[in-house]
């Protein structure tokens, strides 16, 4: 929790929401800093800790935890959150993990394919955004004539091509503002690129932007959308490959509103035991086959051959997860 970057902000946002929803929350990390994250968590009633001294109902782990720490966790349910396809997000391979949370469909596909995690244990729950903090009500449209581009990102080798892409294009008419820790001590000759230190209140920097940009689909894109700002998602290896992100509000709200995200995570954790029992009755291949066929039979709008996001379908159709597994069990019999 030293930096205002993806994983710390994920846990911070989620912890604050869990607290709002009446749960008791502790955050463990060996990397605490005396910053706004820590101060706000304490203010909201979060227990911040460097030791595992309690028993928890649910534990969420981001990034692999060394076994010396992992073995000390006393928790009824453990969920491993996977934030990206990069190696530092390798899923933990342990019988104690009850479910994996992938923050994008691509991440799910990656950990199923590359790390052989059974796909029925992986749930796509998108990153959540605090819509009270990142609100279009706070949006300011500047009355001047230049395009303001904000890049809230760490300056590191992963983002170097992306940063150079914008630095090359920056001009009086296209001004680029970067906010992030400069791990490369990177500077730009172009005077229309402004490099600034990471800030805790990024909403103040993006509220008057014309465009926000980042790599992959990250928090910056979601926060920008919440504020009514169009954002760009770049391929870090080839920044020319990009797509714009400004989805329809209803769908965005359903997927990314932190209130919904927090509830989905609790639901997954509380149904983990049921899934575990059901899994024990089937082989992996049977399960996979049955999941596909039953979903196809039951929910006819799904096209044959399409990648099936069972959790999405369940949600859209308002069918509980246990209902789906009842169907599975019937078919196995």
């Amino acid at each position: 929790m030293e930096t205002f970057t993806g994983s710390p902000l994920y846990n911070y946002t989620l912890a604050i929401e869990f607290l709002k929803q009446g749960h008791k929350v502790s955050i463990f990390t060996t990397h605490w800093a005396d910053n706004e994250l820590k101060a706000n968590l304490l203010k909201a009633g979060c227990n911040i800790t460097e030791v595992f001294d309690e028993e928890y109902d649910i534990t969420l782990i981001s990034q692999p935890l060394h076994n010396s720490w992992f073995s000390r966790i006393k928790s009824k349910k453990i969920l491993n959150v996977i934030h990206s396809e990069y190696h530092w997000e390798t899923p933990m391979n342990s019988d104690r993990i009850n479910a994996y949370i992938a923050i994008r469909e691509n991440v799910k596909q990656h950990i199923v394919k590359e790390h052989k995690i059974p796909q029925d244990m992986v749930f796509v729950v998108y990153n959540g955004v605090d819509l009270a903090r990142f609100s279009a009500k706070n949006r300011i449209v500047r009355k001047d004539g230049y395009i303001k581009v904000v890049l809230p990102c760490t300056l590191d080798p992963l983002r170097e091509k992306f940063l150079n892409y914008y630095a090359k294009r920056a001009s009086q008419h296209f001004r680029v503002f970067i906010y992030g820790k400069n791990h490369m001590n990177k500077g730009f000759i172009n005077p229309w690129v402004s490099v600034n230190d990471v800030v805790p209140n990024i909403e103040e920097k993006i509220k008057d932007a014309d465009i926000v940009a980042g790599i992959l689909l990250g928090r910056v894109n979601l926060e920008a959308r919440a504020m009514g700002v169009v954002s760009v998602i770049h391929n870090p290896d080839n920044p020319e490959e990009k797509e714009y992100f400004f989805p329809e509000w209803e769908e965005f709200d359903e997927r990314h509103n932190i209130k919904n995200v927090a509830k989905q995570i609790i639901d997954i954790a509380t149904s983990a035991e049921y899934r575990k029992r059901e899994r024990a009755k089937m082989t992996d291949s049977t399960l996979e086959k049955v999941v596909y066929s039953s979903v196809m039979n039951r929910f006819s709008p799904v096209k044959s051959g399409a990648a099936i996001k069972s959790e999405t379908i369940i949600k859209k159709r308002d069918v509980s997860e246990s209902d789906l597994f009842k169907v599975l069990r019937t078919e196995v019999k």
Binding site: V141, R142, K143, D144, G145, Y146, I147, V149, H173, F174, D210, I211, V230, E243, Y244, F245, F246, P247, E248, W249, E251, F252, R255
Partner: protein, 219 residues
């Protein structure tokens, strides 16, 4: 997830298919509806395209304009405060910068005429090569006057818009403009010019110029 469409881009197209392709290459179609209209005059093509628009903002762009999605987004953002928005254009292979249309004195004929301005000062409203306008304002103005045949439609629309008090701005975005590439672009030049100065004789243009003498529409 499907993106929200920010605006309808209406492209009056004649015969430069290569330029149309280049134009479309610069635009992200997930954010904009693209309407291409051809087979008639510039004004009529634009009027037809506007009827097909689905959003509240119309962006008219000639196919010889090179514009990027970021510039279009800026135009969309500017529509929060303005109803009629133009952009500066780099013309003649980037050697000349066009701002907006203004009124100048033709010293040979000693008459006031409407013309594209090479500086911010004196620019009063956007040129027709690339501009955004709110659909309700466009409808209120009844679009381009079909009596003009590919020439001066923008001057007529701009004067009518200003006279109705439409909130106007020009963004200094420097979009690239190849200029007058379509075959037959000047076929009706004399007729159009005659029509324009019948509607807006020199003394009317002089009054118009005086009214907007201190007007600064460039953001």
């Amino acid at each position: 997830m499907k993106n929200v469409k920010l605006a309808d881009i209406i492209v009056p197209h004649h015969n430069r298919h290569d330029m149309l392709k280049q134009f479309l290459d610069g635009i992200d179609i997930s954010l904009f509806n693209i309407i291409i209209c051809s087979g008639d005059s510039f004004g009529n093509n634009c009027n037809k395209g506007a009827k097909l628009a689905e959003t509240d903002l119309l962006i008219f762009c000639n196919d010889d304009i090179v514009i990027h999605t970021e510039q279009l987004i800026k135009m969309v953002n500017a529509s929060k405060y303005h109803d009629f928005i133009g952009v500066t254009q780099m013309a003649s292979k980037g050697t000349r910068k066009y701002w907006g249309i203004g009124i100048t004195k033709d010293t040979i004929n000693n008459k006031y005429v409407a013309d594209i301005q090479l500086q911010a000062k004196g620019s009063i409203f956007p040129s027709g090569a690339c501009f955004a306008i709110k659909k309700d304002v466009w409808n209120k103005l009844k679009g381009f006057d079909a009596k003009f045949k590919t020439g001066f439609e923008d001057v007529d629309l701009g004067i009518r818009a200003m006279e109705k008090g439409i909130k106007t701005a020009i963004l200094d975005l420097e979009v690239y403009h190849e200029e007058s590439q379509s075959a037959g672009r000047f076929d009706n030049e004399a007729v159009n010019q005659k029509l324009l100065y019948e509607i807006y004789p020199s003394d009317r243009l002089y009054d118009f110029k005086k009214k907007y003498e201190d007007f600064d529409c460039v953001l």
